[in-house]
């Protein structure tokens, strides 16, 4: 099944050396995403979801160590890809947008110059073609008077507009895969919805795969085909959005879902769920289930290696046969 996936990640690990020992930021993550599909990766901050996407792009900080059994894009092994090959893929076949639109654009160059760069350096055409493409995409992402915007500098634009520019820039070469790392977290609530709708529309329109990293389950429900829930560097549950939302199998997913009110279903006045405790330290490594200290159903065998179970495409990582409701 994973064989024809656009992106195939198996047993990915990212370790970051810190003063007290290696920080196991991503531990044994396996994910795949097909053409034209939207996969949402959810989890609390620090659970390794951003690092997973950076590891895919080969953009980890230099001190971080990436290992995996397989990391393939369109069947091509990225683990063995030379830096030049990764550069050729980045910005062309796979593109990425980031959390911080305010600082993700270079203050010294006009947005036109920055928009045109991927087009030019990936050899898609001359400057005139690049400019035409930039204007076209700026209009498509909802920026008025696109032609005159090209000469503006990033500091002249609001955060929402800058994120639209970032999106347009990622689309310049028509990528097969777009990785969006919490693209709306830094924006105003009203703009968040617009940007997400825009991303979902563009995903369909360009027929590209979208890997959307977020901690907002409301977003997931409305745009994702499939969802992966990460906790303490691991994928604890993964499946189609319907399956995971309808019948969450991991206690952590349950906890997350009970944290969001559902209009019309959650009775007024009923307290929202919370998950007691804090995420364990990932320095030095963890034996067994990382969630067991916070889990209401923890057992003795939670401290041992946890089996991955599946129900067709729905997989989870828990010793329990069935989580009591």
């Amino acid at each position: 099944m994973a064989g024809d996936a656009l992106l195939d990640i198996r047993h990915l690990a990212v370790r970051i050396p810190v003063a007290d020992g290696p920080l196991h930021a991503v531990r044994d993550v396996s994910l795949n995403i097909h053409r034209g599909e939207t996969l949402c990766v959810v989890g609390e901050s620090g659970c390794g979801k951003s690092l997973t996407s950076l590891a895919t792009m080969g953009l980890l900080p230099p001190t971080a160590v990436r290992t995996a059994e397989r990391l393939a894009f369109e069947g091509e092994d990225l683990l063995r890809a030379k830096p030049a090959r990764m550069r050729a893929l980045r910005g062309d076949r796979m593109a990425m947008i980031f959390q911080e639109p305010m600082t993700s654009l270079n203050p010294a160059w006009t947005i036109g110059e920055q928009l045109m760069e991927p087009f030019l350096y990936h050899g898609k055409g001359n400057r005139r073609a690049a400019e035409a493409r930039a204007v076209e995409l700026l209009e498509r992402v909802g920026i008025a008077a696109a032609g005159s915007r090209l000469a503006q500098y990033p500091h002249e634009l609001s955060g929402g507009l800058r994120q639209r520019v970032m999106i347009a820039m990622a689309l310049m070469c028509g990528p097969d895969l777009l990785l969006a790392d919490e693209p709306t977290t830094a924006l105003d609530v009203t703009i968040q919805a617009e940007i997400l709708r825009l991303l979902a529309d563009l995903q369909r329109e360009f027929g590209m795969a979208l890997l959307l990293v977020t901690h907002d389950l409301g977003i997931v429900a409305s745009v994702a085909d499939r969802v992966a829930v990460m906790y303490a560097g691991e994928v604890v549950e993964e499946g189609t959005t319907e399956a995971v939302f309808a019948a969450p199998r991991h206690p952590y997913t349950r906890g997350l879902l009970s944290c969001i009110p559902i209009p019309g279903e959650t009775p007024r006045g009923q307290p929202l769920g919370t998950i007691p405790g804090t995420v364990p330290s990932l320095v030095g490594g963890i034996e067994g289930c990382a969630f067991r200290d916070r889990c209401a159903f923890a057992r003795e065998d939670c401290a041992r290696t946890v089996p991955v179970k599946d129900d067709g495409p729905h997989r989870w990582r828990c010793v329990l046969e069935d989580v009591p409701a």
């Binding site: 792009m57 910005g91 980031f98």
Partner: protein
């Protein structure tokens, strides 16, 4: 940009006036100029005669205003030793000093920018530590001593380069290297610091995410931002070199305004001394003004301020 420029210009003018007053008063409040001119063996009557002759008996403010008024017309008075006027003296010596400082700055930037970029890229490795160590060592050496070592090594021992005078461009090599060596550490640290900061910024990650070649990321995206304060500082360093030229030019007997200043000071040729002080200070004022404007021009965010 215009408002910013005008504000800076106004400040520069006020500072210029203040500097002219200091350049003038300095020689008068430091001691009895007439006595210094007359020499140690002079009688009291001689000192008084000199005082009257040079108009030193008049009120300070009158002397200053007269000097300033003439200075504004490029008349800085006459030298007590040379037949030329002070303005002519300075103008004939100035090209040598400007050549020296210009070459020094080119050498300083030629050392500091590549080294600073390299140190930033290889942060916390031996490359970085050696570069920083070199900077610390460089700043600890007395400049006249470094100059003498250069003379001894490349002039006397190896015989590669001339060690005194200013006849050919070859004469400028050793003094320019000496000047550049002392201007480089600050510029190097600034380049390194700027690059380290910029390389960690989000927009550099964006540039990598776009698949741009490393050289484009480094030079178009990183250095372009890290260089802004370096450009500003190098103009200030150029000003510092003009004032530092007094030591270097004396060591290498290079006939510039620094050497002229030393000669004039040694001979109590005070019209020349105050003329040079004024000139060098005004140069510095203009250079800092240019540095601020260059900063604003290079950084689109300041431009509007």
């Amino acid at each position: 940009m215009l408002r910013f420029g005008l504000k800076r210009l106004a400040l520069a003018i006020v500072v210029g006036v203040a500097v002219s007053a200091i350049a003038f008063m300095l020689l008068r409040v430091s001691g009895d100029l007439a006595a210094a001119l007359a020499g140690e063996d002079a009688s009291a009557a001689d000192v008084e005669r000199i005082r009257r002759e040079f108009g030193l008996d008049r009120p300070l403010v009158v002397q200053y205003l007269e000097w300033l008024f003439k200075a504004l017309q490029a008349d800085l008075g006459r030298s007590l030793f040379y037949p030329e006027s002070v303005s002519v003296l300075i103008l004939t010596r100035l090209p040598n000093t400007l050549t020296l400082a210009g070459l020094g700055l080119v050498i300083a930037l030629g050392i500091s920018i590549p080294l600073g970029v390299l140190a930033a890229l290889k942060r916390n490795t031996w490359v970085d530590r050696s570069a920083l160590g070199l900077a610390v060592l460089g700043q600890a050496m007395p400049n006249f001593w470094f100059g003498l070592l250069m003379i001894f090594l490349f002039g006397l021992t190896l015989g590669w380069l001339p060690v005194s005078g200013s006849d050919t461009l070859r004469h400028f090599v050793l003094p320019a290297v000496t000047l550049g060596w002392f201007a480089a550490p600050v510029l190097m640290r600034l380049t390194r610091g700027g690059m380290v900061e910029v390389l960690q910024s989000d927009y550099i990650r964006t540039a990598h995410a776009k698949g741009l070649p490393v050289r484009v990321v480094l030079f178009k995206h990183a250095l372009r931002n890290a260089i802004v304060p370096v450009v500003a500082l190098s103009s200030v360093q150029f000003g510092n070199m003009l004032s530092g030229s007094v030591v270097i030019e004396t060591v290498f007997a290079l006939q510039g305004i620094g050497y002229l200043a030393w000669e004039a000071i040694s001979r109590r040729d005070f019209p020349v001394v105050q003329g040079i002080l004024l000139m060098v200070a005004l140069f510095y004022v203009v250079l800092t003004l240019l540095a601020d404007l260059a900063n604003a021009w290079l950084d689109p965010r300041i431009r509007r301020g």
